[in-house]
Amino acid sequence: MNKRVVITGVGVVSANGQDIHSFWDNLFSGKSFVKYDKHMDELGAKSKVNCTIDDFNWFDLSKRYGYSGYDQEARFIKFSLIAGSKAYENSKLNIDEYDENDCGIIFASAIGGTPTFENVYKDLIEEDTGLLRYKSIGKYFYNAGMLNHPANIMGEKYKFRNICTAISTGCTGGIDALGMAYDIIRNGDAKVVMANASEAPLADITYATLDSIGALCIAKGPYETRSRPFDLSRAGFVIGEGAGAVILEELDHARERKAHIFGEVLGYASKNNAIHMTDLVGDGEVLVKTIDQAIEQADISKNDIDYVNAHGSSTKQNDLYETKALKKAFGKHAYELSISSTKSMLGHSLASASMMGVIAILGSMKYDMVHPTANLKNKDPECDLNYIPNISQSKIVDKAMLTASGFGGIHSVGIFSKYKEVS
């Protein structure tokens, strides 16, 4: 008999807030945190906007959460540690009360410490020879690339002795880490697993890489409006940064310690489209199959889904592909869904974006309100579903779905519900 899996802790480090209430309030307000970036402009990037976290106070936060000694670590590691610790803190797990063999952690990131790699390369390359000249850098260089490092740190801090690993599945990383944690608990192999995803990708090579394939936002208009998922004038995604973490827990374990339950995980599925690393071809068939599989596992009807937190990356191809997939998967009910994109306000923080989408869903279920898709002014006749343009809507959100797609042709879907005693 599969175990029920609930979410008992949530932590976020995001441009719109570093505590879940600010995060939710700002999402509901529809405020965009996308900004002009002078450096991108001077670099010659086609995209001139990103979404940065300007008020991340590592000095204070590291003291508060006991992370002195990690000052040299890459930014994505720091984000991860703080988001993870916030999630642990609000889960009210007590290190003296749980069996450490029942607790684990899964971390996800797409490109980890890329800015560190860039800085090291710049530091070591000799202009005249074009060769690298070694000088001692320190273990933080190795740690920047080895994505399991944040999992190791938090696993040690919180005495998580069960699973401790890291995945790298591009832009689906966050929901994939959650999905793996869900499987592990559902199958009885652990009782508590933190799923944590983090990204701090803002570096010249990142901009150049994504610009090269035309993925980054070149939309016109005021800078804060340029991430505009599903809008007719959408023109690429806005790169962002941040981290999100959730504590997944086996229901009986959560009940026993009277934990606050944010929501329940009902199902998860992930597939590869096996066509192209970046191009989305067809009418969303593989995403449809992924949705079908997740809903089947959740053992609910498709008509039960009230809200979809979409991948909605603001690229021409994704938003159309996703719309087609939602229509195919849900039929008439697609037009009754409330759908919104968190990326419209926070840009696309790669692996952590889908984790932020999960946290947005938890806020929707808590407040029975769905955040808007910001900057949606020009209707695209091919994207004609209810994307909640610009203003939040009150809606009873009993069950919600998150969709995510990523480089590598990966599609992942999670199904969530308000916690109810009887399943």
Binding site: L132, I137, Y140, N148, S168, K271, A274, H276, K289, F407
Partner: protein, 395 residues
């Protein structure tokens, strides 16, 4: 839910010791070391490593794919094609959703990484190649494998230091046990032997910088460190009721844990749990292929743990150290070791260990009985452990 019989039906590798199973195994048994001077033009502190030889990617993949991808992806795709051929596995409409890829890689594409930086800093921002985004990140292995073979099932990529492909094996197996997949392609690869790659790995403190033929002496206290290596390895694992063939070996037991402190206790617990999950006793283990990587700080913990678990054996425990011949492949290491376990079962042979007299007398490099059960360990210096029991297939 751990009730499905899991069998290995195909193996493939691209390894400094050989690019076919026979060449590889014969090389290991002949105890020839495969590492030497690296001849990297950049000034890197790592002067010696183990390179793959005589490897032509277009023997396994199309030129179009070769151009778009890094060496680490070439190694994995080649290994995978060899493994799928041995397994007799082809992907078609009826099974494409039931086959998944579980892939381990520690550090992505160094060659393309340096290419991109070079384009950015010596040419211009606009000249960075269009494959930087999809060739550098570790997921490239999984992504291209799925595209080439049309594999749509549940798949994941693990980036977990030395245990990257061990994590791939473990979670791949879990996907079979919980019915997310019916067959899995599990593997790993690594291609760190570039200027920036070797500099990065040097900073982890475990890699040997010596210029010597005796670079890697697992379980010996004066071993200079890990020999950095490269290559790929892949296996096909199927549930016995879905397999097309009888199979090569069975994955009978598996376990993982993380002990940041009290690491000896952690290794013991992991091995114990793997043995228990295989419904075996410690006395049933006929061979151990440890992590045994030549970094004494890591090795001494593993020795102490094995001593604690196996001390009461009436006879010495046969042990094999494949890494001392071809170095540590990081992303590919664990699956390479699983393949070695399969070869040991198939041929009932293990390589001699030239430094056997210098290690704990608990161990021997001589076989005294038929190998039926092999314990394979993979672990990180931080304390993440994986243990697998690879067994002769039961009728």
């Amino acid at each position: 839910m751990k009730n499905k019989k899991l069998i290995v039906t195909g193996r493939g590798l691209i390894n400094p010791a050989g690019n076919s199973l026979n060449d590889f195994w014969n090389h290991i048994l002949s105890e020839k070391i495969c590492y030497g001077k690296l001849n990297i033009k950049d000034d890197t502190p790592i002067k010696v490593g183990a390179r793959v030889k005589d490897f032509n990617p277009v023997s396994y993949i199309s030129k179009r794919i070769e151009v778009k991808t890094d060496t680490f992806t070439h190694y994995f795709l080649a290994s995978l094609s060899i493994a799928m051929k041995e397994a007799g596995l082809t992907i078609h409409n009826e099974n494409e959703d039931e086959v998944g890829i579980f892939y381990g890689n520690n550090s992505g594409g160094w060659r393309i990484c340096e290419k991109g930086f070079d384009e950015l800093f010596t040419q211009s921002y606009a000249m960075v190649n269009p494959w930087q985004a999809t060739a550098w990140f570790p997921t490239a292995g999984e992504g291209y494998a799925s595209i080439i073979h049309g594999i749509k099932g549940y798949s994941k990529t693990f980036v977990a230091d030395r245990v990257s492909s061990a994590a791939a094996v473990y979670h791949g197996i879990a996907s079979l046990q919980n019915s997310r997949n019916k067959k899995i392609l599990v593997g790993g690869s690594e291609a760190p032997l570039t200027g920036l790659g070797t500099i990065c790995y040097n900073e982890n403190g475990s890699i040997s910088n010596a210029i010597s033929e005796e670079l890697c002496k697992p379980f010996v206290s004066d071993s200079p460190g890990i020999v950095l290596s490269e290559g790929g390895a892949a296996i096909v694992i199927e549930t016995s009721d879905n397999a097309n063939s009888l199979g090569i070996a069975q994955i009978k037991g598996y376990a993982t844990n993380y002990y940041a402190t009290n690491q000896v206790e952690g290794v013991v617990a992991c091995m114990n749990r793997a043995i228990w999950s295989a419904d075996l006793e410690t006395a049933d283990i006929d061979l151990i292929i440890p992590e045994g990587n030549g970094d004494w700080e890591s090795d001494r913990i593993e020795i102490e743990a094995m001593r604690a678990l196996f001390i009461h054996r009436p006879d010495k425990l046969p042990i094999a150290f494949p890494k001392c011949y071809f170095g540590h492949q990081y992303g590919a290491a664990a699956v390479s070791d699983v393949i070695c376990a399969c070869m040991a079962l198939e041929y009932n042979a293990i390589p001699q260990y030239r430094f056997i007299d210098e290690i704990d007398e608990l161990f021997t490099d001589k076989l005294t009985s038929k190998i039926n059960n092999v314990l394979v360990n993979s672990r990180t210096s931080a304390g993440v452990n994986y243990s697998f029991i690879i067994s002769r297939i039961e009728n």
